[in-house]
Symmetry: C2
Subunit: 238 residues, 2 copies
Amino acid sequence: MTTETTETTKVAQRRVPLSRERVLHTAIQLADQGGIESLSMRKLGQELGVEAMAMYYHFANKDDIIDGIVDLVFSEIDLPAAGADWRAAMRQRAISVRDALLRHRWAIGLMESRRNPGPANLRHHDAVIGSLRAGGFDIAMAAHAYSLLDSYIYGFALTTMNLPFDTSEEVAEVAQGMLGPFPMNEYPHLVEMLTDHVMTPGYDFGDEFEYGLDVILDGLERARGRTAIRRSGTHRAR
Amino acid sequence: MTTETTETTKVAQRRVPLSRERVLHTAIQLADQGGIESLSMRKLGQELGVEAMAMYYHFANKDDIIDGIVDLVFSEIDLPAAGADWRAAMRQRAISVRDALLRHRWAIGLMESRRNPGPANLRHHDAVIGSLRAGGFDIAMAAHAYSLLDSYIYGFALTTMNLPFDTSEEVAEVAQGMLGPFPMNEYPHLVEMLTDHVMTPGYDFGDEFEYGLDVILDGLERARGRTAIRRSGTHRAR
DNA sequence: GTCCGGAACTGTACAGTGTAAAGTCGCGGT
DNA sequence: ACCGCGACTTTACACTGTACAGTTCCGGAC
């Protein structure tokens, strides 16, 4: 596969030794193509030309590996630019998170709940909070904004995650299949939305993301304005 | 444990026969107290006084059971009242979903991605869409609103799910533990938010939920208004 | 050259998982 | 008395994470 220049003469020769990095990269690769449940120690070892137990020299346990690949995903997310307008920065960052989650769907339930956050994770959080604070949000307001934005981003990813269709043509048959065993007129509004909207050509559920994102950013902008005014008598924000 | 009145004389006597309902209820109970990963066929059977394979007479496979308990959770959610103001209905429904997810944390990753939605699931979706439509949302706008609200609700539950603390006193030590291995001044904004806000007495992360919810409802109300005005020349909404 | 120590990995084992396939038991109907 | 069948059990298989002990190999000390 890779360049094996170090090979000299001996039989099987020393193979490339393991390393945290090498393990984590093929772990991500494995999870990307088969989902997180297809990432087993034995398959991972097999992919690396090594027995399953070999990884336990470099990692405490499987969770240690999961922590590692999650932080690698965090490192793929663009940090909000330091001097940028908070709104543009938050918008771009949200889209960057979503893109990363689209590349690594398996990460969706894992990113938010690590007990051992890695450095990329912490750096990400710090940069987002910093961007909000620089944009005039006080601490409480920044916490509100962060909670709201992250809930939406991860929630959208979660609800989108394994929609059983990718192309908009598939939507129709899937929707049929889901409603199949039930009488047609029992769920009129749901049927209407599916037939008159979702199954419409050109519909892409992914487009909903930016719509909702802008609604939230509008709301945050107005809330920030209210805070700033309320505070303007005591001290300027930042 | 329970009343065993049907016992008459014989040795072990015919036990209460299994049934979908009985299996699903103890399955929920098991998942509630030990998380979804502690719901195994053998433990479930043991709890029911039965071998693991006995359940396969009543269910196709484990996923069939998961489908069942997820729909039971849906049935616990209050449907939006038919004639109510859309905003009040959506607010109350969001809180009801969140409460159900707090009672059944294991359900969070499962509710949104069922390939075989049960009747309670479909009824829920239908009622929510119906409430929005009755409130003057056109189909596209109702879809936007639904996507936004559900993403937020499930996302908030997801990010809250396994915060490693319940009481606000625990927050401090956990935060310390997370930042422990890192230099203090590397993440100034994050540290500031933790020390000056999160670790403040009386702080409850759960309170963020309704704040963000109201920001979203405000945004939806304004967006709905814009649509209604744009449409007022052609036909009245609904 | 011989020996040692430890790094890096392998082998074996165990308790756990979902479930396919076949076997068993007892009751209701004829 | 017997059959059929519903309801459940037994056994088995392939898979999981990982504890623990054993092996192999390399660099340095003497």
